[in-house]
Symmetry: D2
Subunit: 438 residues, 4 copies
């Protein structure tokens, strides 16, 4: 291709399950119809800009390993254009339908916010043209309110209202760009919206600031006619010691407190779920139960590491359970599956970047197929329905309707000296059943 | 004393900070006035029945080590009466103002719920008399909805509505007893209100069941004129893999979803905070910020153990931070400091049981004194106020009032090319300041 | 069958991968030859006595849920015989080649150790007969030195030498029984060999006690001519706060310190690896690297629970990585795959007990098949060999032989201004490669 | 001072416990005699170069916040000299006796290793002069074998022997510099000596490489006559997924395997202990028990964060337990207390850097004083001695000497139907006792 970065790498296409080499999709077959919908439309896979094109391979103990040419010294806008070229080459090489980005991923920061915005908008012009040419779409955009030192004590939750204002101005531009590019969603991840120590923090005040900020975003969305979904991405900590958007349940309470539960949904990340002490499927199931499921940042956290490892998801049984929850909830609407995944810092070749996406897309596709098979089989779902069948009886349905008091239930129990007997939860059977499909 | 269990142990009284032996209160001086209130009235210390008198010293890998005489074979009600005698002897030995219990702690389960209730009520008669004699009060009562096998798949969240009904009937009696004994609060801890596997669970349905159950409890409280506070005690897991009342933020969202946020507060446990990935002071501060702080289950979780270790709280600097949050929120109203703490299973002597309470009461008292000193000093609080001072300016206060839009803020930023500069958070200074007082 | 416990359950046999019901082995095909050996001989599956027949379904917050008839009141030896009958019925129902037990699992404790030993020996007589009849073999025996209160402060590491002596006497009998029954190994798990607090512990002394105890066991093994392997089972904690046999690396250092590294090997448990902060495959690989790999306690720890959950292993990709390490090390000799797995406490039916073993045996078989395929394919192993190929050059091989000094290497570097270039570690490629086989 | 960096900050000196401001030592009184030795000589406090002068305040999600002038663009050696000036100003401002550094902390990397070494040596010339002028001494030096991309797959454990050679050459120079500056120790921290995935790793081979490397270091030490101690610093993970020097027990096993247990000791870090699942005092006690205790990297890990937070140690009771173990083992010989602690990235002022060291030095001093008081009091130590007193009886001492067999002990037990009774471990008493002194 034109940039030469992927020289020697063939376009990645469906090769079927019998292929003996992992370069090629063995299961990700975009046109295959699953539960009445094309696989591509089910999964809505997106490549993220930050991990793939912006992260240089550094970690807290070591510098860059990747040394991409667009990260070298040079005119920053020139480099941003080269990066955009490489990005779209990769989208096409992998035949992926979507991408995602932060404003600062795509263009350099200028001397003022106006200059920074102009940089972002200039690259967005290029994106607009490339998207039209290639058919690649934007799953979501977002603003980076965490890297610059001005955000060190928060963006919306900063003790300094000037930084709140600055953040608002930056988000406005990111939302404008996202709308212009037809983004299906707009995401807020509050990496600095938390605290390092309670000793210098007024929790109540910061929550109110965050609530107000989010309300302003929602108001602006409606004013501009942006049709996408506003998404919050929960994470318990890192970089801050404690982040306000800890997990799905915390975000739900926050939305309820500020009357935003019908306006905002969640973008759930596997790695963030793990760091918060939950399984990924828990967070998905809970978001569905609470009516705020939106989208997925797909990756895998190393179970032995206490930080966000953002590895490519590769464990098919785990992915099957995740898509089972997603499909049970009706699947994605505006959301999708964003590869919030990065190659390891020792994986320094362009081929590694491609292979990570292939391997994970395939594992995801297998997860989806297994989940669909579990739904079609029906035994899992049927077991659950049977388990709660007693609640359909009129006298029990009345309890949930609020027609029965504590005393009335007590009377019912004592009238017959009721002694209910436990029934097996059959977990091992259900786990064995799942293994029929993965 | 009459039971002989504490033979050889002297009544524990204030001996002053210079005492050279840890048997005696060096800092817990109940009549000492701190910030205008007696220390006893600040702390409202309570001894719990379950750890002190019911737990036999067993763990998942080993049987009983304590071999208390009231746990030996014999007539269960006779043993329950002996246990009550020992309990009140201990309350007086330690000169503690409150106690707490589960229904099943104080009396044996009968063949039917009616019989079980009768057993509970019979012991409550004894309590009533002993409380009048000794002046010891009830901080709170609760129902054990987790030990019996009927609750293995939940109480209020059980798939079987009969178990929901049974639970309601049991709670009704526990609430009646708590009211009769003048309990200052009634607590619900949902040890089985969660799931072991999502594969057999309907999350939405179980949350609705739990919401309905709690509403029934609140309705019954008002109907009976019980003046105490209804408290939920968050815990993330153990014994279940995932408990619905995960942490303070989760409980808040749950209360909001069912319209109970003005009716129910939280009873926060140090160990549960740790298991949920939070510091104790975080949970306290958050509950205050959300307006749902109620009471405290005081203990300490071993930082290297992944289960609920319920050790006696002994680390003064940590306790100082906890009471600093409690005092900043106005202190306890109906709530108090319940020793949800157990001696180690190798601490098999009666003296160990007493020493655990002495040592922890003293550490708690030191924590309170340090917290009060921090408040009186004022530098910590003043630092925080100064940090957010910018929000008092009219143009910034207007933001939080909702009078300013995203676009208006963007205009403000661009008008002056605003570039706000970060200010030091001074964490090390604040931590050093705290160390002046502990 | 005679006891009636498994009434209604059919013998479990190989039914092939296309079976639509999880009752039956779809992949565990004992006679299938894998890498030149029968699958049964590769895996050497064993059913454990404690989880399957002794655990009543209790946990720290709740009582028994299983209510097996052999756990009911009655003559303890009568019940032990019934339990033995049920156990052998299950071994045959599942067609498993091995079993494992603690002395206290099989027979009740008596008034003296002599009586306890007599009880054990009486049941061993029964075992002997049943083993001859059924062909079921003993993978290993062990002594329970943790449940009785006398061991609360340790067995071999107890501050009281009388408890050390008692433990020695009990182990002697357990070794005798194991030898008599043709056990392939003898295991020591030191659940109480650790400390609850350093404040009352002399670490050095306790390590010496443990070293001496283990030496006595080895000496006795040789004296009696027992041909099995002595195995230590590492675990970091639980029930104790800190256990001396923390993990494989710790055990290795301990064995080296007491000169036992050629006499004792490790029995590695998945759940214990996880609790110690390692992956299962790490512990297996390390044991092979250190030359002390012995056997496996197979289960799965819930990744979100901080205690030993001992679930049935069901995740095939994880099992594939485990058996890949085992096969690379040459596979089992005297060791095997012991199901140290328990059904959930809500799985109260006999069918659950069977289904757990079926589902896990099948997942294990799939893991073995995938591992074998990875080895036969050769690309994974070849990649690793190539990666270290530079060390075969004579000048580099000389380094490891000890023939080159720090200064000589420095000279070599400076002579050519050596600047070695990093090469990709290709993790994503390797993970994708693994996914070809699982 | 000359550089102006600390303008406005007064020299920090002992002001006594009644001081009301945290700027000044309230407890760190260097000349105070504790257990017969000056406090300065007990603690041997050292300021580290990397956190204080090299870390720019970045984290994985955000850039530099500190913007120190010596980190700005400019001639790197000029900046290195400015940094050295600031460093020694700080050593004197704080009146600290020692410092520590990595080679790359003090001087920039050149185009070749020879050039890099020359840079290091040039700064060492400056150090030599400044040390003579100020009396500040070097606690230890070390080589940075982790930041440059060449080390991404390890230094001594790299699959590429050229990187092993390069590392050897770099370490040689770092050892030479350390010797020249009179360093009391030389440290090796293997941040990249581990693996990211087992799939590309030959564990056995890498351990052998590491063993050989360490042996070369020891040989070179003896050849050059360096009198300092060679120290390994254990850490379980981060940046690598799994580091070979996991914890003290693992390092001990490694040293035994390569015959280095009498040549190399450990430098124990609080944060690394926590990440490995241990308490700090455990690692200290174990190192003493195994005879390999060397030195301490003092800091504090946030208990809720799963990465290395390197905060300033401020919790006095925890520090008291740490120094209690250190003093029981005889205290430091060549080792000392290195502040491996960094101010938070929001603490951007020079005053924060000073305050962090003051606050922590004071907390450490209080920890030492408490530990000394515990030792002088004698009750803690006496309790432990009494607990094991039974082992002094001749028949029990004989067991540890190896004069008694398993059978002989069994005979002893059966002869008297021995039934040893458990004794209380009295943990709550001991914890209360500790609280008399902190």
């Amino acid at each position: 291709m034109a940039t030469g970065f992927f020289d020697g790498l063939e376009p990645v296409r469906f090769v079927g399950p019998d292929a003996k080499d992992p370069y090629g999709y063995r299961f990700y077959d975009k046109d295959r119809v699953v539960l009445g919908k094309r696989m591509e439309d089910h999964l809505r896979l997106a490549i993220c800009y930050w991990h793939s094109f912006c992260w240089p391979g550094g970690d807290p103990f070591g510098g860059d390993t990747f040394q991409r040419k667009w990260m070298a010294a040079g005119d920053p806008m020139e480099q941003a254009r080269l990066k955009a070229d490489v990005a779209f080459e990769m989208f096409q090489l992998l035949d992926m339908p979507f991408f995602t980005f932060h404003d600062r991923d795509i263009a350099p920061e200028g001397a003022t916010l106006a200059e920074s915005n102009a940089n972002v908008n200039a690259i967005a012009d290029i994106f607009e043209k490339k998207m039209a040419e290639t058919g690649v779409k934007l799953l979501w955009g977002t603003a980076n309110l965490f890297s610059n030192r001005r955000f060190m004590s928060g963006a919306a939750t900063n003790p300094d209202p000037e930084i709140f204002a600055y953040s608002a101005a930056q988000v406005k531009n990111a939302m404008d760009v996202t709308k212009r590019l037809g983004g299906a969603n707009y995401v807020l991840w509050g990496g600095r919206e938390g605290y390092e120590t309670l000793l210098n923090t007024d929790l109540k005040r910061e929550l109110d600031q965050l609530g107000r900020f989010l309300s302003m975003v929602v108001e602006y969305k409606h004013k501009t006619g942006f049709k996408g979904t506003i998404l919050i991405e929960p994470k318990p900590q890192e970089p801050t010691k404690h982040q306000y958007d800890y997990d799905v349940a915390t975000v739900f309470g926050f939305l309820k407190a500020y009357g935003l539960e019908n306006e905002v949904k969640v973008n759930i990340e596997q790695g963030h779920a793990i760091l918060a002490g939950h399984s990924f499927e828990h967070e998905l199931a809970l978001a569905n139960a609470l009516g705020i499921f939106g989208s997925v940042d797909m990756n895998r956290n190393d179970y032995q590491s206490g930080w966000d490892t953002d590895q490519f998801a590769m464990n098919v049984p785990e992915l099957a359970l995740a898509y089972y929850e997603i499909l049970k909830g009706g699947g994605f609407t505006t959301g999708g599956t964003n590869f919030d995944s990065k190659i390891r810092r020792q994986s320094i070749d362009a081929a590694d970047l491609i292979q990570g996406h292939i391997g994970s897309a395939d594992a995801i596709a297998r997860g989806l197929l297994a989940a669909a098979a579990m739904i079609e089989d029906g035994r899992l779902g049927g077991f659950v329905e049977d388990r709660y069948a007693g609640w359909s009886k009129p006298e029990n349905a009345a309890i949930l309707k609020g027609d029965v008091s504590l005393e009335a239930l007590a009377d019912r129990v004592h009238a017959t000296d009721l002694e209910p007997q436990p029934k097996s939860g059959r977990q091992e059977y259900l786990e064995s059943l799942v293994n029929l499909f993965v």
